[in-house]
Structures are given as structure tokens and as C-alpha cells.
Amino acid sequence: MNLFQTLALIAIAALFVLTLIAAVRGWATRRDALLWALLWLVAGVTIMWPGVTKVIANALGIGRGADLVLYCAVVVMMIGFLMVYVRLRRIRREMTLLVRELAIRDAISERKPPSDEAISHEATKEGHFDV
């Protein structure tokens, strides 16, 4: 193993353990944790035995192992972007519903014009709005 492999594997092992802790403590959903763990596993294997990607790449008709990794990375990133976008939309929607709830709860309506006998006291108060 060269220096790069040693360092990268240590980092990946640490991330793997972190993912496990996150799953156990409930910081991440089980599905997310599983996806991450799988990603670390694949990364670990390809760093440890770089020949593996070449074998798979050749089987798929792609020349170099590094190309396969690149293609996969692009696809994974695209899916990632889409997932983030969908989540962003949901958060926006929830924000609107929250803002709406507040607006309706705190609606200010003008008081009905006071009847003649009530005028003297009420009308002198500051403003004429009820909250």
C-alpha cells in the first residue's frame, strides 16, 4: 500500500464508523445511513484494489477504470442534486404554510364603527384596530 491508500483508507474507515454511529443514534434515517455506508464500502474497495474498477470497466466496454469512476460520480451527483432540489421545494412549501398560518392568526381587522354611546371613550384610544 502506498501513502495515498493508507491515508484514504483511514479517512474512509472513520467516515464509515461515523455513519454507523449516526444510524444508531438516529441522526440519520436508516435508509440514508445505508446509502452512505454503501458508498464508503465501494470507495474503500476501489482504493484498496484499484484493479477492480478496470475489470468492471472492461466488462462494460469502458477502457479505463478511472473513466468508470468518473461516470459513476457524475450520475451519483446528478441524483444528489435532484434529491436536494426536491427537498428544497418541500421546505419552501412548508415555509409558506407556516407563514400563512402566522398571517391568519395575527390578522388585524378594523373594529366595527363604534355605536354612538360608546364613541367617547373608545375613539380616543390610539389607533382603531383590534389585534
Binding site: R100, A103, I108
Partner: protein, 240 residues
């Protein structure tokens, strides 16, 4: 479609006026909101202003003039603000809900023709049309863009309207309950047309006048926006 006013509706009864809630969504319109509200309020006692997180004095100006004032603490866009106002109006027992622009482009006297067919049970929804009615000082580019928007609506939504992006609309309480605007910004106009079609509620276009002033043009939509709005709408349709 244009010649719809039945004679029995010529004079709208007072009960119709008081049961009508006019919803005005406003974003940074402090300079004209009071004027717009008081013109509407001269005829309709229930004016609801939804201040959409304005950073000028719109909220204070609205409090001085409107019957009901609601405030979005964060700007959520016109679609979101209209939905807030409509929900509020229904909760206060509105029988007819009208939406009206805050930038002074609509005429308060057009509201009557919008309400009458609904009040008489002729239809559930009315949509204002500047192309059946008229426009004042509309720039040629703006007209072209609006025509394209109508074409877009006819093709994508398969609804035959002459003006899909007019802020002057009216809904019976039943129709207002069926409507649920989820596209927060300007794409809500197209979403609304979809919902009207899906609900099967009868609607009618009413000729109205839209006036373009230096003020409204400065604040209004640009052609670049139009493409953004169309994309927004299409994405909303795919991702739902």
C-alpha cells in the same frame, strides 16, 4: 362569451357587496396601496390586504386603509399571498372572493361585472380579460409577451382563454374552497387555470380595463421573467 350580463344582475344588491371580499396581495406598494384600497372600499366594505413581507411602509399604509390586514413575515410571492387572502376571506364567511392587483392597474368599477354572474349563479368563477376589454398604454413588447403566455396556456393547459395572466378574478365560495394555489410566485396564474379545468367549475371571461403607468411598468414583469415563470410552472407539474 363576452356579452354575459343578465338583466337581473344590473344592480347588485347591497347583500352581495357586503358578502364580497376583495383580496389585494401587495409587495412594496406603499406609494399606491392606500389609493387602490380606498377606491375599492368605496363600494365593497370588505377589503383584505395581504402584505407579503414588504420592506417599505406597505403594512402601515394598509392598516390605515384596509378592512383586514394580514402580513407574511417573509416574502412568499403573489400566489402564496393570494391563497392566504382567499383562505382568510372564507374563514370570515365570504360568499364571493375577488382578487385585485395592488399596483393600480385594475379599475374598481370593473369588480361589479366580475361578481354579477357569480352572484346570479350563472357561473362559479370569472376571469378578467384585457384582450376582451382594453388596455391603456400597454407597450408593444408587453402585449406580445402576454399573447405568447395565452398561447402557452391554450397549448399546455388546453383551456380556451383570451388572457391567462390577469390579476382580476372572482370566485364563488364553493370555487374558492376548491382552489389551492401551491406555486408561490407568478406561475400560480397557470396553475390556477389547471385547477379550474380539473374542477370542472363553470367559468366565464369578463372584459376589463388594465392601465399601464410608468409606475406599474417599472414594477411589472419583464420578458426574462416570463421564461422563468414558464419553467417554474413546468417543473412544478413534473415534480408533484
Amino acid at each position: 362569451m363576452a356579452n354575459g350580463q343578465t338583466t337581473e344582475c344590473e344592480t347588485l344588491p347591497d347583500s352581495a357587496r357586503t358578502a364580497t371580499f376583495v383580496v389585494i396581495a401587495a409587495y412594496n406598494e406603499s406609494t399606491c396601496i392606500e389609493q387602490v384600497v380606498s377606491e375599492v372600499r368605496a363600494e365593497y366594505p370588505n377589503v383584505v390586504v395581504v402584505d407579503d413581507g414588504s420592506t417599505d411602509g406597505t403594512f402601515e399604509a394598509a392598516k390605515r386603509s384596509a378592512t383586514h390586514v394580514l402580513r407574511h413575515v417573509i416574502n412568499r410571492g403573489q400566489g402564496a399571498a393570494l391563497q392566504t387572502g382567499i383562505g382568510f376571506a372564507l374563514s370570515r364567511g365570504a360568499r364571493v372572493v375577488v382578487t385585485f392587483d395592488a399596483d393600480g392597474q385594475h379599475r374598481a368599477e370593473d369588480i361589479k361585472a366580475m361578481i354579477a354572474p357569480i352572484w346570479c349563479g350563472e357561473c362559479e368563477i370569472t376571469l378578467g380579460s384585457r384582450f376582451l376589454g382594453g388596455t391603456e398604454n400597454i407597450p408593444a413588447s408587453r402585449r406580445k409577451m402576454l399573447r405568447m403566455a395565452v398561447l402557452f396556456t391554450r397549448i399546455v393547459n388546453r383551456v380556451n382563454v383570451t388572457d391567462a395572466h390577469n390579476g382580476l378574478r372572482a370566485f364563488s365560495d364553493r370555487a374558492a374552497r376548491e382552489i389551492d394555489i401551491t406555486l408561490d410566485r407568478m406561475a400560480h396564474a397557470t396553475e390556477l387555470i389547471d385547477q379550474i379545468r380539473l374542477s370542472g367549475l363553470p367559468f366565464k371571461e369578463i372584459p376589463v380595463q388594465i392601465r399601464y403607468t410608468d409606475y406599474s411598468l417599472k414594477k411589472g414583469q419583464s420578458s426574462r421573467n416570463a421564461i422563468q415563470i414558464a419553467l417554474h410552472y413546468l417543473l412544478g407539474r413534473v415534480l408533484r
